[in-house]
Amino acid sequence: MTTAHDPGQPYGLKTTLMVGMEIHVELDTRTKMWTDAPNVAHPDYFDAGPNTLLSPVVIGMPGTLPVMNHAAVEMSILVGLALNCAIARRCKWDRKSYWYPDLPKNYQISQYDQPICGAGYLDIPVDGSTKRIRITRAHLEEDAGKLLHDLPGGGHSDGSLVDLNRAGTPLLEIVTEPDFGSADEAVVFGQMLRDLCRHLGVTQGVMQQGHMRFEPNINVLIEKDARTCKTPIVEIKNLNSFKAVHGAILHEHTRQVEKWLEDGVEMGARSKSTRGWDDAKLVTTPQREKEDEDEYRYFPDPDLCEVEVDDAMLEAIRARLVELPHARLRRYVDELKLKEADAKAIIDEPAVTAYFERVLAEGAGALPAAKLLRNNLSKLANEKGAGPDALGVSAAQLASIVGLLDAGTVGSNVVDTLLVACTTSDADPAQLAEQGGLVQVQDDSQLEAWVDEVLANPKLQKAVEDLRGGKQQAIGALMGQVMRLSKGSANPGQVTKLILAKVRQ
């Protein structure tokens, strides 16, 4: 990503971007927000066919009533705590009314004036230092279904089709203050928030599935003749990639400056408008707006009781706060001395992070453990098409292999073989190495016998002479023969020492 130049510059203007964001996070609870129908954002139901995750409550059938999903409330509080938000001790549910065929009740159960999470903040890294992004609030609501205009698979449909699988999925809407001064900052924040939510275990965070959807609110401060003008705020709806977030903000910056130059319209009451993002043309486009868009007729939902959060509940949720990914990254690099790329790779997938932590808890050193994980285990994972944590190699087994390597009991050349053995056995890798004949021979007399045999081999005399003459790389051929004789069990370090000692005698 590149730092944007100021689009006002060609016109002699100094302009500043002001961006706030609304982020919708689909929580991955097993069931929906108001009923026990399965939640499409839970990985078990990603591939469910259209309209298979329904219940009378989801369809809003007559006589149905919502019952709150407590897990979704807990997840929301967990995110709120991670974002340093004030958590409401009491809050209520409100109905937000609007007419749309993917909203079966024609109202959405949401939180209007009492969000579960109040003001908070998240510090993001900017140019080697940090910048505080203020969180306005985070409230919990239900997602709507989807309206399709083609048949599933792409065929033509005469009418619109409604898929209610997503209807009723718990949705956490996080709102920030307009604290982003660039597209880069917004993206960094978005990525940090995604990492944070995934590590807290509240969402799968698959962008293509719409698990996180971003809506930047953008306007521009323009300084001209010692006066500062503000362009009208534009909200970009439903962005589900960081590339789109970045592109939309950059494009709006330029577009709003140019529009202001053209018509001079400044921010005022009811001047906010809504635009979409065209991923192909890389421009924002106007969206049709209803004139009564803001007439939602909010009122407290009489079917639900207020949420009460007592001390015990809050403490139980606080205990679930894991080390947040950005703090963990710093610790891995600064204290554990991992390479930044290794640390990032381990933190990228929460399950792998947890696995790595378990390996460390088994007593393995961080550096060798990270090396094994990043090299050998990841290679195996690629081959098997599973995550490194899900191969059947337990954290204790991996830690044990680190120990065997460290003690010289096995050589790094047999690690892959040993890992494969671990995928189908719960046995201690020391035992598996023994059974597989993978233990390094450290017995000097045996090693000496192999070395003597190789050094006496007439076909290898040239290499022996070369080595004696100071050509270090000649040792490779001799080593290879010793390893072949030992069927790979010789300790390479010891063999090297022996060869050099004998050649130089």
Partner: protein, 497 residues
């Protein structure tokens, strides 16, 4: 015995002791429905085959319970997997529910035989059943008069002995008002006492299911069976159900110290210019009965009563405008047959045209009132103000119940009115609820008991008396009411059909 000329409990006992089989009893009621329903229009949908199947299962011993074999009618806004659940609206004329309401299920779990769905004002909005899309129900005491509403089909059926007991729902008086003017017992339990799962919502914070029966003992038994926490209804209360709730002849727990039953009366209910002489007479008679039994009469003040009707019509219509938004022809229910125009407005056209065709005029009127009350700029002036008034009304009752055990008052200002008399005057119709709405607004319990008769056009027309009690205090309320019922036994009068 004639199984249709008795009470729920007597019939239950007769079936249990094999004096009459469940099938015979059910057939007797079904025959009576066949004979009289054309004149009364009490049932909107009959579940004949299902009822007989259930009755036979009782006779074979497959189905047992405290209501084994007793034929019961349910209001058309209660979901049942059998038949249609139409709320007496064209919108849901063919709607079949995939589940059964918790309250109804609990009756069936005790062996009840559900006969069918009774007619009502569309979506429970009205006081006469004149707002039903399926025609008005008739009052068995005078077929030219309404049976009250919105549970008018229920009371028409019960007064004519087309069921041994029936369920109604009460949002502002829809059980008590029709019960009073058809000579029946009607209980509106405390809000949260009986699950609303499967009760099609009119106004969620006010709606409550309750029994309509000949006697208080029958009502108490049904209440005991239906009430209690339901995990499917967040607003159902987790309050223990007393094991002797059904026993209306049991001792009344009185406040420690005095030991005397204290009957509260409030001037706000006793305007002689508003009340029909028969209503005043019934009230005085009831008061005399309590005095005679040694009760102390306490004057209580309910100063915010006069705001009950406006407060109710804001809260109820606001909630209704939202609750009824789901009927748009998209997922179920009536969908317009008119071709939809192409283009962006197609879906709006489909939804608004379906609603225009599917709803009757009173429902539309209330949706518009409620939409207005919730609109930005009016919310504080109407809805929020109504909520504040509601709290004041509840506080009036809290204060009153510090001084008395139950409040005695009329249920309605007069007996049943003639069909058509108030149909064109919504405000006059709304005033029917004047003595009942505050109970719903306060979330407390009220019961109407037969109180005697008015004479109009040479016809005897029932009126009721109402007793209002604290929240979750149905046991005492029914026992207090029983003291009066035991003296008068007015429930024994039945209309000549």
């Amino acid at each position: 015995m004639d199984p249709t000329q008795t009470t729920l409990i007597d019939l239950r006992n007769a079936i249990a002791s094999k004096q009459v089989s469940a099938e015979e009893a059910t057939r007797a009621y079904l025959d009576r429905i066949d004979t009289h329903n054309d004149a009364l229009n009490a049932f909107r949908d009959r579940m004949t085959d299902y009822a007989l199947k259930r009755a036979r299962a009782v006779d074979t011993g497959e189905v047992t319970g405290r209501l084994a074999g007793v034929p019961i009618a349910i209001k058309d806004c209660m979901c049942h997997t059998e038949g249609t659940t139409a709320c007496s609206s064209k919108m849901l004329e063919h709607y079949r529910s995939p589940f059964t309401a918790t309250a109804v299920q609990r009756l069936e779990d005790e062996g009840a035989v559900i006969l069918g769905k009774t007619n009502m004002d569309e979506f429970a909005m009205g006081s006469s059943t004149e707002n039903s899309a399926f025609g008005v129900s008739r009052n068995p005491w005078d077929l030219d008069r309404v049976p009250g509403g919105s549970s008018g089909g229920t009371t028409s059926a019960m007064a004519a002995d087309l069921a041994a007991a029936a369920l109604g729902s009460d949002t502002g008086g829809s059980i008590r008002q029709p019960a009073a003017i058809t000579g029946l017992v009607g209980l509106k339990p405390t809000y949260g006492r009986i699950s609303r799962w499967g009760l099609v919502a009119f106004a969620s914070s006010l709606d409550q299911i309750g029994p309509v029966t000949h006697t208080l003992a029958d009502a108490a038994l049904l209440t005991q069976i239906m009430c209690g926490k339901d995990p499917l209804d967040s607003t159902s209360a987790d309050v223990p159900v007393e094991s002797d709730l059904h026993d209306v002849d049991g001792e009344i727990d009185l406040a420690p110290g005095g030991g005397k039953l204290r009957i509260g009366i409030a001037s706000q209910y006793l305007d002689e210019s508003a009340n029909h002489p028969a209503v005043t007479a019934a009230f005085n008679e009831a008061l005399a009965v309590y005095k005679q039994q040694g009760a102390e009469v306490v004057e209580v003040d309910l100063p915010h009563t006069e705001y009950g009707i406006p407060c109710y019509y804001i809260v109820a219509t606001a909630e209704a405008s939202s609750n009824l938004a789901r009927y748009d022809g998209v997922h179920y229910g009536h969908r317009t047959g008119e071709p939809t125009p192409n283009g962006a407005n197609a879906i709006q056209h489909l939804m608004s045209q379906s609603r225009a065709e599917g709803f009757g005029s009173e429902v539309k009127r209330r949706i518009m009132l409620g939409t207005y009350a919730l609109s930005s700029g009016y919310y504080d002036a109407y809805y929020n103000r109504a909520l504040k008034t509601r709290r004041l009304i509840a506080r009036d009752f809290d204060t009153a119940f510090e001084q008395c055990d139950a409040i005695l008052c009329p249920t309605t200002t007069g007996p049943a009115f003639k069909i058509g008399d108030k149909a064109d005057d919504p405000l006059a119709m709304y005033m029917n609820d004047i003595y009942t709405v505050t109970t719903n607004l306060a979330g407390i319990a009220g019961v109407s008991v037969p109180g005697g008769f008015a004479e109009e056009d040479g016809k005897r027309l029932p009126v009721g008396v109402q007793l209002i009690g604290k929240a979750f205090d149905e046991k005492r309320l029914l026992r207090i009411a029983r003291r009066y019922e035991r003296e008068t036994e007015l429930w024994k009068h039945r209309p000549a059909l």
